[in-house]
């Protein structure tokens, strides 16, 4: 009996020692034993993701999270919904267009959605080389030496809008799932940036914004603007 208790005690101590060894092996990043209880941003800290980016090798669980595509329910009403998950970084007006810039982080879902129902007017790819010229005046383009972009223009009842999917030449992978002439619904998936970065919603300057820089938005779910403002 004493022997059995001793064996059980030693087994329990070995399990504890293994848990502490795992902690030490993974420190400063979280041990696999506690990852499930951490939110994504803490489960895979930025420093760890940057190391993976340099090596080109990622943890499978992180990739599963990165490529996940959860269902979203668009809110009732006719407001424009966010085209991407992320943080609104600016809402600058240039001429007749308002540029609502959404920065995506490593932990955001990377599937983009249509802000409104409408007809796709064009899907155009831009940028493979160093960009100089008119695009450089925009901060969201200036930050990247070689912004690789796809611009989806959609004709809606609120006017013509565009969703610009931007990544860098290092990532260079954008998929679009809609084509010219196609009718699309509000909140419908329109594409995916496979490693990156920024989504810009181009709206008529007169639309009324419902979000401010610094706020978080979720694709297909967060109302970001509505109708045409009364001048």
């Amino acid at each position: 009996m004493e022997m059995a208790i001793l064996v059980l005690q030693i087994a329990a101590l070995c399990l504890l020692a293994a848990a502490i060894l795992l902690w030490a092996l993974y420190f400063p990043h979280p041990s696999p034993l506690i990852r499930r209880w951490l939110p994504p941003r803490k489960r895979w800290p930025e420093a760890q993701v940057r190391v993976w980016l340099k090596r080109g090798k990622f943890q499978r669980a992180f990739l599963r999270h990165f490529y996940s595509d959860p269902e979203r329910v668009a809110p009732a009403g006719t407001s424009m919904v966010a085209p991407a998950d992320g943080l609104v970084t600016s809402a600058e007006v240039r001429g007749d267009v308002r540029y609502l810039v959404i920065a995506l982080s490593f932990w955001d879902m990377h599937v983009q959605r249509s802000p409104l129902a409408g007809k796709v007017v064009s899907v155009a790819a831009h940028g493979d080389d160093f960009m100089d010229g008119e695009g450089r005046e925009f901060a969201f383009l200036r930050e990247k030496h070689c912004p690789v972009q796809k611009r989806v223009v959609i004709a809606t009842e609120a006017g013509q809008i565009a969703v610009r999917l931007i990544t860098s030449i290092a990532a260079r992978r954008i998929e679009t799932w809609v084509s010219e002439g196609e009718d699309i619904g509000r909140g419908q998936r329109i594409g995916r940036i496979l490693l990156g970065s920024t989504v810009v919603l181009e709206l008529p300057a007169a639309t009324r914004l419902l979000v401010r820089p610094g706020e978080r938005v979720w694709a297909g779910q967060t109302p970001v603007a509505e109708g045409l403002a009364i001048r």
Binding site: E2, I5, L6, L16, S31, L33, I34, L38
Partner: protein, 64 residues
Amino acid sequence: MNDFFSASGHLDWGVFALVVFTGLWFLLFDLVWRLSNVGIGRLVVAMSVGWVVGLGLVWLTLYR
């Protein structure tokens, strides 16, 4: 060594409880540290107080 194992032939329950509790408390500290935004100094103080209270409870349970 003989003292450590105690006369009954297995690890003394007090020593065993102390080691297991300390190990688990340490792992819990790591989890709380990652989940909370509290400064490390305040967290160390709070967790140390918790550890001492835990040890007191172990002692009260086993040796009272």
